[in-house]
Structure formats: structure tokens, C-alpha cells
Symmetry: C2
């Protein structure tokens, strides 16, 4: 595989997904740090050379750039034990990764970012008005995960896949956004299962 | 391939993506209609048997159920000409599909749903307050697409992939949500290119 460089902010769960995937697979990953809060991913140079969408993570593969955390995980994981060999199961893994970006991240990650990094006092009125809806939608996502994990060890099939890594990233730090995890027994057991995987590395 | 049944609401662009993928590939698809506005995807029966997330589309494959439009397209498209054979290009295709669900759909599709189906007068105060931010984010997504398509015929490589189908679904009806497409010349030419594909079927 060509040289891999992760353009990241270490506080971002989306960046951590890629780092965890690489760690579980034993892939070497160079890291280049940006400070989102200081606008370092919105500079003309970043927009021109790394990601026109002004976001991290971006996985650099040789001289090519791949934005979107779950796409980067897929690039690293394809053909390994983290991606099912069965066609339906592979699509079902992607199903949970799309769920993560649509139903989970915009609520659970955003509330963590707003409350733990920006700070409630510094939110705009419009952001503050969205907190109750994001709280409900985030709780719904956690409840759905907890029900799905009833009697199951992993999201898809009988082993850890990229679906688990993707959902783990922001779930295990959800309390920083004001979500209570201890009421979700199946989720808590699954979090421990992920943290016990050989090669696991914690978020910094 | 096992029998395919699409659980859908025909007004939904997310459902149309799957229908268009199947049409381009010549795959027969049975269709089962639900009325989102009448709550038909939130019944106890639907939640228990089709999708615990209460959403359509769901692609039924034999007796298994696959939610999330882009995951369903991936299931149908894998191994066909709609998915690149190169590993990086395949991940880059997914990159645009994640972009679609994160940056495009929640703005462009949501404004279409709110303005063309629910009607501005019937929106909650909170929905109304979100219109300006969704307008800006939707325009940003269209501008990014237009820049990417400058000098390119398709989103990834030199042929139509699932990335194009995914982005086409809500882009080609974006004006129903109040977006102006005619200022985006590259997007307009690309929309025509998709509509000219052999096997193309229009949204109903």
C-alpha cells in the first residue's frame, strides 16, 4: 500500500475512526495535525490541496486525497477481516455507516462539539434552539443501537467490522455531549468489547 | 440474485436512487408503496418487520431487509460497471455518497420536503428557523459539485458510478426546494448526461 497520511484534528471522532481502523490492521499512518477551532481546515491552501469541502479527516494515499471518514475506513479495510466477505453483509455494514453519518454523528458528535468544545455560552441562538431536537434524535440513535445489540455481540455478523468502528468513535465519548450511556446496557458491553480488541488504541 | 422488493414512497429521492440503479442495470424490482406523510413507515408492524429506524427506502433481498439508500445501491451495484474496479476509485465513490448523505440530502432534500410537501405555512417555528442555514449549506454543496465537475464528465473516473446516481436523485429536483440550478452550468450538463444514460428512468 502507498504511504498513508491522515490529515486530522485529534479531538475529532471522525479522525479517530481512521486511526483505530489502521491500528487494528497494523497499518502505519503518518499524521498531520490541524486545529479546527482555529480555522486551519478553511485556509485557501487547505481548500485547494487537501479538501475543497474544508473538513477533516482526509486520508492521503500517496498523492491522492480521500475525504469522508467512512470512505477512508473502507479504503483501508477492504479485503481484510474488518469487511465481511458476504455481499449482503458488506452492504449491511455500509448501512450502519450511513446510519452513523445521518442519524448519529449530526446529533451525538455535534452536541459534544457544541457543549464540550465551543461551550454553551458561546453558541449562537440558532445552535441553542437546535439542542432539544438533537438531544432527542441522539437518544433515538442510541436506543436503536441498544435494541440492535440485544443478543448480538457486533453490528453485523459475528465479528467486528467497520460498522462497529464507525459507531464506536462518537458513542464512547457521547457523555461529553450530555448523553447518559449507563442506561444502555447492551451498548456499554459492546463498547468494552471494542476496547478489548487486539491492537486497539484509545482516542487521545 | 434473490427476489428484490423496494419498500418506497415514490416522492422520495432516496427511493428513486435504488430504482434508477436497478433500471440502469436491468434488474427487476418489485415495489411496495408507503405514504410517509400518513405515517405508514412508523407503524408497529413496519418498525418490527421492515426497518426499526422507521424510514424508507428499504431494499428487501429475499427475506432480509437493507435500509439506507446508498447501502442498497451498493448492494445492487457491486461487481457491475457502476462501481469502479480500482480500490481508491471505489472508496472515492463512497466518499461522494457519504458527502451526499451528510452535506447534500439534509439540506437540499429537506428543503424540498418542507417547502413542496409539508408547505411553509405548516412548518414548526423551529423548522422555519433552520431554513436560512439549510439554504446556505445546500448552495455550498451545489457549488462544490459544480467546481468538481469543471472539466469532468462524472464524479469519479470516466464513467457513471453510484456516486452520480446518488447525487443525481435530489439534485435534479432541487428547484422544488427553492434552489436555482441554472447558475450551475457544470451541474446542468451533468444532469443531462445522467438522463441520457441507456436504461434511464425518470422519477415519478
Amino acid at each position: 500500500m502507498e504511504d498513508l497520511i491522515l490529515h486530522e484534528d485529534r479531538r475529532s471522532g471522525n479522525c479517530y475512526k481512521i486511526r483505530l481502523t489502521a491500528a487494528l490492521l497494523g497499518l502505519p499512518l503518518e499524521r498531520k495535525a490541524y486545529d479546527i477551532l482555529a480555522g486551519e481546515t478553511r485556509t485557501p491552501e487547505f481548500l485547494a490541496n487537501v479538501n475543497s469541502n474544508g473538513r477533516i479527516p482526509v486520508l492521503q494515499v500517496g498523492n491522492r486525497f480521500l475525504p469522508e471518514s467512512n470512505a477512508a475506513c473502507f479504503y483501508l479495510g477492504e479485503g481484510t477481516e474488518l469487511v465481511p466477505t458476504d455481499r449482503f453483509a458488506r452492504a449491511d455494514m455500509l448501512r450502519w455507516m450511513f446510519f452513523e453519518q445521518y442519524n448519529h454523528e449530526p446529533n451525538i458528535a455535534t452536541l459534544r462539539f457544541w457543549l464540550a468544545y465551543l461551550g454553551k455560552a458561546d453558541l449562537t441562538e440558532q445552535q441553542r434552539a437546535q439542542i432539544p431536537a438533537k438531544r432527542i434524535a441522539g437518544e433515538d440513535a442510541l436506543a436503536l443501537m441498544d435494541r440492535h445489540l440485544s443478543g448480538r455481540a457486533w453490528f453485523v455478523g459475528n465479528a467486528c467490522t467497520l460498522a462497529d468502528i464507525s459507531l464506536y468513535a462518537y458513542t464512547h465519548v457521547a457523555e461529553a455531549g450530555g448523553f447518559r450511556l449507563r442506561d444502555r446496557a447492551n451498548v456499554c458491553k459492546w463498547l468494552e468489547r471494542v476496547a478489548g480488541l487486539p491492537g486497539y488504541e484509545p482516542m487521545e
